[in-house]
Symmetry: C2
Subunit: 411 residues, 2 copies
């Protein structure tokens, strides 16, 4: 029998208990040992809940108990999670976490400790909820040099964008609906500004490229500026607007960003709707593969946590995670990386505007909507971001152009 | 350094050599040891090819060489692959294979030998080419009870169906084009009659349910009866016709089948086009997950083989594959399983035909195409297959009905 402790009895924590209970028999069979929860740590009381018999409010008894072999951290946030996890690892306990902030910020150090102690620090649930992606990157795509990871990594924003498209509603209305349904938090900034996706792509990039990609280096733009008019253009161009997190490698240079992107309907990610997430990986021999599933939610996330617990129990004295170096990867400034934009300009004279655009950007296809008769839209060719931005600025200052109303990346 | 032998220098075999060469540095790093090919077995000569220096025509030197720790079987077909693989395992060499016929027919026995010897029999490439699916089923979805696996598991038929849809061409024309492009074999039966997909879903079902699912028990129907008119109905109903292999579990009963299916455009598999494959898995806690990628091809398949080689090298004396029992799983006869059909009937009198249909099947929506004015189509409600088939037969014999032109499953 293996005893474990669960830190945090919130949505994911209670899900972990539920999954371990529901599928107890098959989980124990696959782990090769009975897995039993000895402690649940939470600051709160749960008087009416059976958990109260194993509930503790202090980390010390858990850290001091040699019977606890695996610590499951599902509290979220950097502190006190980091202190608890680090101390558990230093005392030889494997750690499983669903905490993307923790992994994005302290992953290399915690992996390093686990490696030195020949135990495990596992975090499948920290990216893509239930979608198996960390383990496939770590163990399945090992024959490949990965040169791109692109994902829809945030269910809240994907739900909002899907609703905006399908029901023709503005961002604010849909956000409010998502909040009422519990899909978005009261303070939605981490989701709608792209911070959540940013941490996740940092973790995936670090794993794929073997060096620490600092999430603070990743250019991040959210979806708050996406309007109904943008959605109408997207429909007209047979494209979908998605919040895309991407990381690409070319000739030893890596760049990464999070931003809304107009994806062509042929792109597999364009068909990922609602709260679903998907991660698209390109390798130099495997070609394109994609992993799809629920990126969040109590049980999908708990499923990933429990799969990690099983792996930790099966490999109590054997480090199985790919290492990623504590060395920081210097990302290419995205201003020097290739980009392509969809641009909307309001004009005073359409003919003048078109000439100005084609003088700057070369020949393009113009789109004009019934919904916005004082503007036109077009997609640039691919070029270095800096050059495009300069041209967009020049355009915005030209006589005959009223304003550049929006610019959205295209892939 | 670990020495390996590759049995078969065809498409996949030469791909394995290419991948090991191309990504040598990262592969050796991930394996933790240098991987070197000591022998390549093939009946043929390759005089101009550097492989000739390590080419052998006989299995004995490989089996007798204690330096060979891993044998890679990429010959295809049941014999002599089975004899070679079994003997290699018995002599304590781990085996990696891409051979679905071998795994579907002898998987349980070979897994059993590997288990007893504490070595590995790995077969990621046998299903879905480069798509990581065996390892995720084995190691990632371990917290779940899986109750459905549904996949597009054959790239040739998916290419044909995609082309038929997009270009409005008949099956025979597209088949010929696929043969000319090398996507279909001269004898296309294994693909177009569904036999290939059948072996793959047998392997996936065995892994998911832990008992041996015999591919010969799986009801299998190919795509040769799919016509341009069927495609026109599908388009009108906002559906895609795909060759779908599925295996479902409900209340301890498992049923499986391979057949063309009309998938609604909301179904993630409906967006899998051309030579791409995808596998959709439902678990009781993770919900729905999908794995997508190239299901065949030299390099994607070789990528999966090499990932298995790395795993075999990392775990030379440690069995890591989930066991599936040699005990045979008794499948529920699909005639007793739930089904839903799209049915096309040619009539002499449309009013009479509609009344007959609704008397038998209850209220349905009828579809009438400009392309086929002497017939109507409709989708039944879900019912037990036997009952539906009886009603379809009754319908076909009714006065006022000329014939039942086709029936295609719906999911």
């Amino acid at each position: 029998m293996i005893q474990i402790a669960v830190l945090g009895y919130g949505v994911v924590g209670s899900g972990v208990l539920e999954v371990l209970q529901t599928n107890r028999e098959s989980i124990d069979r696959r782990a090769g040992k009975e897995i039993r929860i000895k402690y649940v740590l939470d600051r709160r009381e749960f008087a009416e809940d059976p958990v109260s018999s194993i509930l503790v409010h202090d980390i010390e008894p858990i850290l001091n108990d040699p019977d606890v072999k695996v610590v499951v951290e599902v509290m979220g946030g950097v502190e006190p999670a980091y202190t608890f996890v680090k101390e558990a690892l230093l005392r030889g306990k494997s750690v499983v976490t669903s905490n993307k902030e923790l992994v994005a910020k302290h992953g290399p150090e915690l992996l390093q400790i686990a490696r030195e102690k020949n135990i495990n620090f596992l975090f499948e649930a920290s990216v893509g909820g239930g979608i198996p992606i960390i383990r496939p990157l770590n163990q399945s795509l090992t024959a490949d040099e990965i040169y791109e990871i692109t994902g829809i990594l945030n269910g809240t924003t994907n739900f909002i964008l899907t609703k905006m498209k399908e029901e023709g509603l503005p961002f604010e209305t849909v956000l409010k609906e998502a909040q009422d349904l519990g899909y978005a938090e009261r303070n939605p900034e981490a989701d709608v500004e792209g911070h959540d996706a940013c941490r996740k792509i940092a973790i995936l990039s670090s794993l794929a490229f073997g060096m620490h990609v600092d999430f603070e280096d990743i250019d991040t733009e959210g979806i708050t500026k996406i309007s109904q008019v943008d959605m109408a253009y997207a429909a007209k161009m047979d494209r979908e607007i998605k919040l895309v997190a991407t990381s690409k490698k070319k000739d030893h240079e890596v760049w990464a960003r999070v931003s809304p992107v107009l994806l062509h309907m042929d792109h597999p990610l364009s068909n990922v709707h609602g709260v679903f997430n998907a991660i698209y990986v390109k390798g130099n021999v495997i070609g394109d593969v994609m992993f799809y599933g629920k990126g969040a939610g109590k049980l999908p996330t708990a499923s990933a946590v429990v799969a990690d617990i099983i792996d930790a129990v099966k490999h109590l004295q054997r480090n199985i995670m790919a290492f990623w170096s504590t060395e920081k990867m210097e990302l290419l400034d995205i201003r020097h990386a290739p980009a392509q934009y969809f641009i909307r300009i309001a004009y005073t004279d359409v003919k003048v505007a078109m000439d100005l655009v084609e003088n700057l950007f070369g020949k393009v296809d113009f789109i004009q909507l019934k919904e916005a008769t004082d503007e036109i839209g077009f997609i640039t060719n691919e070029a270095i971001e800096n050059e495009l931005i300069e041209k967009i600025e020049k355009l915005s200052k030209s006589t005959g152009i009223k304003e550049v109303r929006n610019k959205i990346r295209v892939e």
